[in-house]
């Protein structure tokens, strides 16, 4: 049964030629009067991609989703869905479905009517409609709720109904607009897993908007980070996390955020020598990067910004360590978080977070050896903030 459902839901998407992107956005602009909300956005996804648009509020991610969905008229640029130009097409004719932040269930209709609404609009015969509603309800485990009104449902149940309404029509593309932001923390994690499982099972093409970088990391096959209407970086979660394109992305993705410090970089043969100033007249801390990128070699001698993830700074614990890459550091603040213990160190003119082991027996004010892992170090231009 479940297998049938899966293939059935896939059938439409797989008719598209595999090489055509399911969605392509080209040079899209959106302005309200003089206010430019989206600036020259270009992005495309393949069938089965899970694209997450992430960024702080006001970055234009929801507007972009609205443009893709046809709820917002674009100012210039092109939109293609499944190869067809839909820039000026009614949302109804784009073959897409959307899950709204507020769920947007029809309060005057039962759960079953809500799920079947799109089929009712398309004049699908009642028997066939009921069959499909039943399949989707089974998939989402909401069969007992079919006769209820939306007002009688919990937040998580409404969320499922909203997804059911999107799934039942088997569209080319699913749009999710911050679908989990109205749920409590625990339910959010459960639903996140559920959405991921659905995506894997149905191989659906999804565009998902969120301001929560953890949601972005866990769900996406591809992430678009936006700020002020401009795409900052497009990449897999791993690429975004390990090689952020600029300081904004580095700071925005990951929690706690990547540490950005002032440093002076000089070349010592093929090894980059990274000198980080310390407070209270202590001698500077010197790290060695044995494999710096070509860009660094050109900039040697200059003051740069370097980025180190908190997990690159850790206590000795059980980990094997390069003997030359650990230093005694004064722990300003210690925050035990169970699985990890976070410690704040003052380094290079900034507060730097180190991620120690959960069982590390340390206290604020202690000086302990911290080891630095420079294999995933990022270098940024201090003026432009761009990655070097």
């Amino acid at each position: 049964m479940m297998h049938n459902m899966t293939t059935h839901l896939q059938s439409k998407g797989s008719t598209a030629v595999p090489s055509t992107p399911i969605l392509s956005v080209k040079n899209l602009n959106k302005s309200y009067g003089d206010l430019k909300i989206l600036k020259d956005i270009s992005v495309s996804i393949k069938e089965g991609d899970f694209l997450v648009l992430v960024g702080p509020s006001g970055c234009g991610k929801s507007t972009l989703l609205g443009c893709i969905g046809g709820l917002t008229e674009v100012t210039s640029g092109h939109l293609r869905i499944g190869g067809a130009d839909v820039t000026h097409t009614d949302p109804a004719k784009r073959d897409i479905a959307m899950v709204f932040q507020s769920y947007a269930l029809f309060p005057n209709m039962s759960v079953a009517e809500n799920i079947g609404f799109g089929l009712e609009v398309r004049k699908v015969p009642k028997a066939q409609r009921d069959e499909k509603i039943k399949q989707v309800a089974e998939l989402l485990k909401i069969e007992p709720l079919l006769d209820r009104a939306p007002a009688q449902l919990s937040g998580g149940q409404r969320q499922r109904v909203a997804m059911g309404r999107a799934l039942v029509r088997d569209p080319k593309l699913f749009l999710f607009d911050e679908p989990l932001s109205n749920l409590d923390a625990k339910l959010r994690v459960t639903m996140r897993t559920e959405i991921k499982r659905l995506h894997q099972r149905l191989n659906a093409s999804i565009i998902y908007v969120t301001h929560d970088q953890i949601e972005a990391m866990t769900l996406a096959t591809k992430i678009v980070v936006m700020k002020d209407g401009v795409i900052q970086q497009v990449g897999t979660p791993r690429e975004i996390y390990d090689t952020p394109a600029n300081i904004f992305v580095a700071d925005f993705m990951g929690s706690p955020a990547m540490n950005i410090l002032d440093a002076k970089v000089t070349m010592d043969g093929s090894v980059a020598r990274i000198e980080i100033a310390r407070e209270d007249g202590q001698p500077p801390l010197v790290l060695h990067d044995p494999a710096p990128s070509a860009g660094i070699v050109k900039r040697q001698g200059a003051a740069l910004k370097i980025g180190l993830r908190p997990e690159a700074l850790t206590d000795l614990g059980s980990r094997a360590v390069h003997a030359d890459q650990h230093f005694d550091c004064l722990l300003d603040v210690v925050e035990p978080a169970g699985s990890d213990t976070f410690a704040v160190i003052r380094l290079g003119g900034a507060e730097v977070t180190a991620r120690l082991h959960g069982d590390a027996d340390v206290r604020s004010g202690e000086t302990v050896p911290i080891c630095f892992d420079v294999t995933k170090i990022s270098y940024f231009d201090p003026q432009s903030g761009e990655r070097l």
Partner: protein, 279 residues
């Protein structure tokens, strides 16, 4: 804060005075309608009737009586006119309100709509009289329904617009996304959500139409189309010797709006506030 005795006395006196001022004319109208003609022509008056005389109501409700024919005919015309005009106004106002609320129709146009009802009817009445006269459409309920629906339309549009404004727009977007047309969305999604607003708009529109006199006076000439206000004006202008008859017609004509007003006070007050305070 504790009130002083003096303040309490002043407060309750004011409340009593207000109650008397508000109710006295109504109570007197009611008393007149059930007093005997002799009580009503006594000098000075017999304030409290010697006997309850319901015969006038009986005659007004009797189709075999002349006054009954006139009253019941006018009642029928009033119900048809006010009901029909309310229905048409709503059917026309809801799509227009949706255009103003969700399709970015210019608010200047809405103000122009509203300006048409703020102009005195004498500005429109003569050309309408000549047009309808030329069509042989004077003295017809349908004609009044059309004129009244134009009179109700701007306010109904405004009221519906402010109510659609506060509905969550995402629900309509969801309907469009699911492939629904605007007409389908209006019928299946917006109207059910706006039902309380529609009820309030209907009620206020009905009351306004029920009250209208000027057009009815000019466009109707006999029992086949005269509405209650015109019939009442006729009753009171004629050489009626029994003022109790006029009073009982007045009581009967007041009952429907008074009952609506008291039962749905909240609706009406908020509707009026929306209409007059928020423009």
């Amino acid at each position: 804060m504790q009130r002083s005795l003096f303040a309490s006395i002043a407060l309750y006196s004011a409340a009593l005075l207000l109650t008397l001022f508000t109710l006295a004319p109504l109570v007197w109208l009611l008393l007149m309608s059930i007093s005997s003609p002799n009580d009503l022509t006594a000098v000075p008056l017999n304030w409290w009737p010697n006997e309850v005389n319901l015969s006038r109501y009986g005659r007004l409700m009797d189709l075999n009586e002349g006054s009954g024919q006139r009253f019941l005919g006018a009642l029928r015309n009033s119900l048809l006119t006010a009901g029909g005009a309310t229905l048409i106004a709503l059917i026309v106002a809801v799509p227009a309100a949706y255009a103003f609320s969700r399709r970015g129709a210019s608010l200047a146009l809405l103000f122009a709509f509203l300006a048409t009802i703020m102009m005195p009817p004498i500005t429109y009445v003569l050309p309408l009289y000549e047009i309808f006269g030329g069509m042989g459409a004077l003295n017809k309920t349908t004609t009044l329904v059309i004129v009244y629906s134009a009179m109700l339309l701007p306010f109904a549009t405004w009221l519906m617009k402010s109510n659609i404004d506060v509905l969550p727009v995402e629900i309509e977007q969801a309907a469009f996304m699911e492939g629904a047309t605007t007409a389908f969305t209006l019928r299946r999604v917006v109207l059910p959500l706006a039902l309380p607003a529609i009820a309030a708009t209907c009620m206020l529109s009905f009351l306004v139409a029920w009250d209208e006199f000027f057009y009815a006076l000019i466009f109707t000439s006999d029992l086949s189309a005269k509405t209650l206000p015109v019939a009442i004006a006729d009753f009171s202008a004629g050489r009626v010797t029994d003022y109790g008859v006029i009073a009982s017609v007045g009581v009967l004509a007041t009952l429907p709006p008074a009952i609506l007003a008291i039962c749905f006070q909240r609706f009406i007050v908020s509707g009026l506030a929306a209409g007059s305070v928020k423009g």
